[in-house]
C-alpha cells in the first residue's frame, strides 16, 4: 500500500517535472521592433538607434527603419517571464534614455512582438502575439444594398506559402477556412477556379495588420470587387 502511494507520487512528480521542463525549456522567438506603430489611433515613432537586452542575453542594436534596415531584430528566448532593457542611443552610442520592463508570455505562443516605441511610452499592448490567424470566407458580401455572390471554388494562398481551397457554402461546405501567418505585412493571392481546377481569374493584394490584432477576416467576393471592408477584425 505504502509502496503504491510512493510509486504514484513518484509518477506524478515525474509528470510535473516534465511539464515544468516543457515550460521552462519552450523556445519563444521575439521580434523586437523599432518601427512606426499605430495602437488604437495613436502613432508611435521609431527611435534612431536603440539597444535592447532581453533577459540579460546578448544586446541587440536596432536602427530606425531606413533603406536596408527593417528596424527589427529577432531574438530567441525560453521560459514565461521576461525582462527587457531598452536603451536609446545617440549617434555616438551614449545612452540618452533607458528603461526596463517585464512581461509574460503564454506557453503556446511561438512568436511574439515587442514594440519598443510603444513600450517607451507605456502604451498598452506593446507586447503582442506575432502569430495572426487569417480567416478567409467565400460568402455573400453585402454593401449598401448590393450583394456579391460567393464563387464556386477558390484557392487562396497566404503569404505565398499557406494555401487554402474554399468552396461555396452549402452541401457540407462552410465556405470558410483559416490559416496562421506571422508578422504584420502580408500578401493574399486568390485564384477563382472552375470544377476542373482551371483558373478563371486571379488577383494578388497585399495588406498590413495592426500588431495588436491577432484574428482577421477576409471576404473573397469583396476582395475580387475591390470593395472596402474586405479586411476586418474577426469576432467568434
Amino acid at each position: 500500500m505504502k509502496g503504491w502511494i510512493i510509486k504514484s507520487c513518484l509518477i506524478i512528480g515525474i509528470i510535473v517535472l516534465a511539464v515544468f521542463l516543457y515550460i521552462i525549456g519552450k523556445e519563444h522567438i521575439v521580434f523586437v521592433e523599432n518601427n512606426t506603430f499605430t495602437i488604437d489611433g495613436k502613432i508611435y515613432e521609431p527611435y534612431d538607434l536603440v539597444r535592447v537586452t532581453l533577459d540579460g542575453g546578448e544586446p541587440v542594436e536596432i536602427k530606425k527603419p531606413r533603406g536596408r534596415s527593417l528596424g527589427r531584430a529577432k531574438v530567441s528566448t525560453t521560459g514565461l517571464n521576461h525582462k527587457v532593457l531598452v536603451e536609446i542611443l545617440d549617434d555616438d552610442d551614449n545612452v540618452i534614455e533607458s528603461k526596463e520592463a517585464k512581461f509574460k508570455v503564454k506557453n503556446n505562443v511561438e512568436e511574439l512582438l515587442l514594440n519598443i516605441p510603444a513600450m517607451m511610452n507605456d502604451a498598452e499592448g506593446w507586447v503582442a502575439n506575432n502569430q495572426k490567424t487569417i480567416y478567409v470566407e467565400n460568402k455573400p458580401f453585402t454593401v449598401d444594398g448590393k450583394t456579391y455572390e460567393p464563387y464556386e471554388f477558390v484557392r487562396v494562398i497566404l503569404d505565398r506559402s499557406k494555401s487554402l481551397e474554399i468552396r461555396k457554402p452549402g452541401d457540407g461546405h462552410t465556405g470558410m477556412d483559416k490559416g496562421t501567418v506571422t508578422d504584420l505585412r502580408h500578401t493574399l493571392y486568390i485564384e477563382i477556379m472552375d470544377e476542373n481546377e482551371t483558373v478563371l481569374e486571379s488577383k494578388e493584394v497585399s495588406y498590413t495588420v495592426e500588431h495588436a490584432q491577432t484574428k482577421l477576416l477576409i471576404n473573397i467576393p469583396a476582395v475580387m470587387n475591390d470593395l472596402d471592408g474586405w479586411l476586418t477584425e474577426y469576432e467568434e
Binding site: 505504502k2 509502496g3 510512493i6 510509486k7 513518484l10
Partner: protein
C-alpha cells in the same frame, strides 16, 4: 522430550502412470534420532523422500495417497519451498551450489540479510542492500555448528567435495525452522576420512535435536550412526528396526531378498566356464564416466557366455562397457580375441567385432529425429560399408534405401517392434520398442561380443521379458558373447552364466547366479 515423535508417514501409496512404486509405507521418526533408509535402486527410497520433500515431480505425476504428519500437524507440501518452511531440509546428491559464490553467499542464497533503503519503497524489496558482513558472520556460525573447519568466505569452486557437502548442510540447518534433514547418500562422493567427519557432523546435528533421514549404501555407516533403520524393497517397507538389534547380513538379505526362493534364478544348465576360452581380457581398466567411475577392473570374459555385471547405481558398472567401447576416456589394457583394443576410439572397438547397447537410449542410443530404418542400419553402414551401392568404382557410396528398409523390416518382425512402418521416427516409439531398435542396431552389426547396459530400464514387464529372451536366443543361436550390465539383480541372475558385482569402481566379486542372495547383498554393500 527425546522420545517425542517428529515425523509420521501413514500408509503412503504412489504410482507412476499405473506402476506402483510405493505401497502402504508407514514409518515414524523421533526427535533427534537418525533414521537409516536403505534399499536397492528402484526400491522407492528417492520417491519416498521426494514425497516428503514435496518435490514437484510428485504433484505432476498425480500426487500420492496417505498422509504425512510433522510435529503433530498434517502437512501436504505443494512444493519444496513449503517443505522448507515447515522445517524439512534436503541435501541432494548433486550439489545445489553456485560455484562462483562464497560459502556464505550460498548458505544465505535467496535468504540474504538485507537493509531497506528509499529505493525499496519505489522499486520493491529486491533493491534493498545486502548486509554482507552479517551474512558472513551468520553463515560462519552455522558452519561452526556443523562443526567443520571452513571459512565462510571461500569460493565454492575452490572447495573440495566434502566442503561443498558441508556447505549444503550448513545451508539447511541455517534455517531456524529446520527440524528434519534428509541426506541422500552424503558419503557417496567422499573419501573415507571425509566420510568419517561427515558422520560425526550428522551425529552432532542429531544431538542438537534435529532429526535426520540418512540414505546410504554403506551399511557400515548405517550401523555406526543410525538409531533406527528402515528397509525398503519394491516399494514396500520390509523392516523398521533399531540398529542395535540387527547386523549387516540380515539387512542385505532384507534388501535383496525376494519372496521365498529369492526370485527365478536361471533354470537351464549353466555353461562350464572353466572349459571355455577367454575372449575378452581386461586389466587395470579405469574409466572416467561422470557418476559411474571405474577405478580398476580386471575381467576375463569367456567365449559364448552371458556375463552379468551388477551393483548399485553410481558404483561404476556402467563405466565398464562405456569405457571399453571408447565412449568415455579410459585407460588400462583390453584384449579382445587376442587383439589389443585401442581405447577412446569407438570405431576401433566396433571394427574389432564388439557392439554396445547404451543405457542412455535418448542421447546415445537413438537418432530420435530419424526413422527406424536409419537407426537400425546406420552403425553397420558406417562401419562395415554394408547397404551401400557403389558407383564410379566406389567413388560414390550410395545409400541403398531399399536394402535398409528390408533390413529394418526383418528386425521389426523378429523383435516384434510395434510401429506404423520402418519409416516411423524413433522418437514416436514407446520405451520398449525404442530399446528393441537399439538391440536391432547392435545385432545388425553381427558382433562377436555384445555389451548391453540396463536392457530393461524404463520399459514395461512384457517388453522386459521379450528383450531378455532375445538376448538369450542370440547367445544360444549365434554364440554371441553377451555382457549385460543391470541394476536389477534378479534380471541378471535369470539370464547370466556368471554375475560380477561392481562396487566403488572395482569388481567386488564374481558369483554364480545360483549363489544365495545374501552373498550378492554382501558384495554390493560391504564396500
Amino acid at each position: 522430550m527425546p522420545d517425542e515423535i517428529l515425523l509420521k508417514m501413514k500408509n503412503i501409496n504412489k504410482d507412476f502412470y499405473g506402476n506402483q512404486v510405493l505401497t502402504g509405507v508407514n514409518m515414524e521418526l523421533k526427535k533427534g534420532h537418525i533414521l537409516g533408509l536403505v534399499g536397492e535402486n528402484g526400491a522407492g527410497k528417492s520417491t519416498l523422500m521426494n514425497i516428503l520433500f514435496g518435490s514437484t515431480v510428485i504433484k505432476e505425476t498425480g500426487g500420492f495417497e496417505g498422509e504425512i504428519e510433522l510435529d503433530g500437524k498434517i502437512c501436504n507440501f505443494e512444493s519444496p519451498f513449503d517443505a522448507l518452511d515447515a522445517g524439512v531440509g534436503m541435501v541432494h546428491q548433486e550439489f545445489m551450489l553456485i560455484p562462483g559464490f562464497q560459502a556464505a553467499e550460498n548458505i544465505m542464497l535467496n535468504r540474504e540479510l538485507t537493509q531497506r533503503n528509499l529505493w525499496v519503497d519505489v522499486f520493491g524489496e529486491r533493491l534493498s542492500l545486502l548486509k554482507m558482513e552479517e551474512m558472513v558472520e551468520r553463515a560462519q556460525k552455522s558452519i561452526d555448528t556443523v562443526g567443520v573447519d571452513l571459512d565462510a568466505k571461500t569460493l565454492v569452486s575452490e572447495m573440495p567435495v566434502a566442503h561443498k557437502q558441508f556447505t549444503e548442510i550448513a545451508r539447511e540447518i541455517d534455517r531456524e525452522a529446520t527440524k528434519l534433514l534428509i541426506l541422500d547418500e552424503p558419503t557417496a562422493v567422499l573419501t573415507e576420512s571425509e566420510a568419517e567427519i561427515m558422520l560425526s557432523v550428522v551425529r552432532r546435528l542429531a544431538d542438537m535435536g534435529i532429526s535426520v533421514i540418512f540414505i546410504s549404501h554403506r551399511l557400515k555407516e548405517i550401523m555406526q550412526i543410525c538409531d533406527e533403520l528402515v528397509v525398503l524393497r519394491d516399494g514396500k517397507l520390509v523392516k523398521e528396526v533399531p540398529t542395535k538389534e540387527t547386523n549387516p547380513e540380515q539387512i542385505s538379505e532384507w534388501m535383496v531378498g525376494r519372496e521365498i526362493g529369492g526370485g527365478p534364478a536361471r533354470e537351464e544348465p549353466i555353461k562350464k566356464i572353466e572349459e571355455m576360452e577367454t575372449v575378452l581380457k581386461v586389466r587395470n581398466l579405469w574409466v572416467d564416466m561422470p557418476g559411474e567411475r571405474v577405478i580398476n577392473v580386471d575381467l576375463d570374459i569367456k567365449k559364448g557366455e552371458i556375463f552379468g555385471i551388477g551393483g548399485l547405481a553410481g558404483q561404476g558398472k556402467l563405466g565398464i562397457p562405456n569405457g571399453i567401447m571408447g565412449l568415455y576416456p579410459a585407460g588400462g589394457t583390453v584384449e579382445f580375441q587376442g587383439k589389443k583394443i585401442k581405447l577412446n576410439n569407438p570405431r576401433f572397438a566396433l571394427d574389432s567385432g564388439m557392439a554396445f547397447v547404451s543405457e542412455d537410449r535418448r542421447d546415445v542410443g537413438l537418432l530420435l529425429e530419424e526413422p527406424i530404418d536409419w537407426n537400425i542400419s546406420f552403425t553397420v553402414m558406417q562401419t562395415q560399408e554394408k547397404y551401400l551401392k557403389k558407383f564410379l568404382g566406389g567413388l560414390i557410396k550410395w545409400r541403398d534405401d531399399r536394402a535398409i528398409a528390408k533390413l529394418a523390416q526383418e528386425y521389426i518382425d523378429l523383435l516384434e517392434i510395434r510401429c506404423t512402418s520402418s519409416r516411423q521416427l524413433a522418437k514416436e516409439l514407446s520405451g520398449g520398442n525404442q530399446q528393441k531398435v537399439c538391440l536391432a542396431k547392435a545385432f545388425a552389426v553381427k558382433p562377436d561380443l555384445l555389451f548391453v547396459s540396463e536392457p530393461t530400464r524404463g520399459i514395461d514387464v512384457g517388453a522386459k521379458q521379450l528383450v531378455l529372451d532375445t538376448l538369450h536366443e542370440y547367445n544360444e543361436k549365434y554364440g554371441i558373447t553377451i555382457i549385460v550390465c543391470s541394476s536389477e539383480l534378479e534380471e541378471l541372475r535369470s539370464i547370466s552364466d556368471r554375475v560380477a558385482i561392481v562396487s566403488e569402481g572395482r569388481i567386488a566379486g564374481i558369483l554364480s547366479p545360483t549363489a544365495p542372495l545374501k552373498e550378492f547383498g554382501a558384495l554390493m554393500l560391504e564396500a
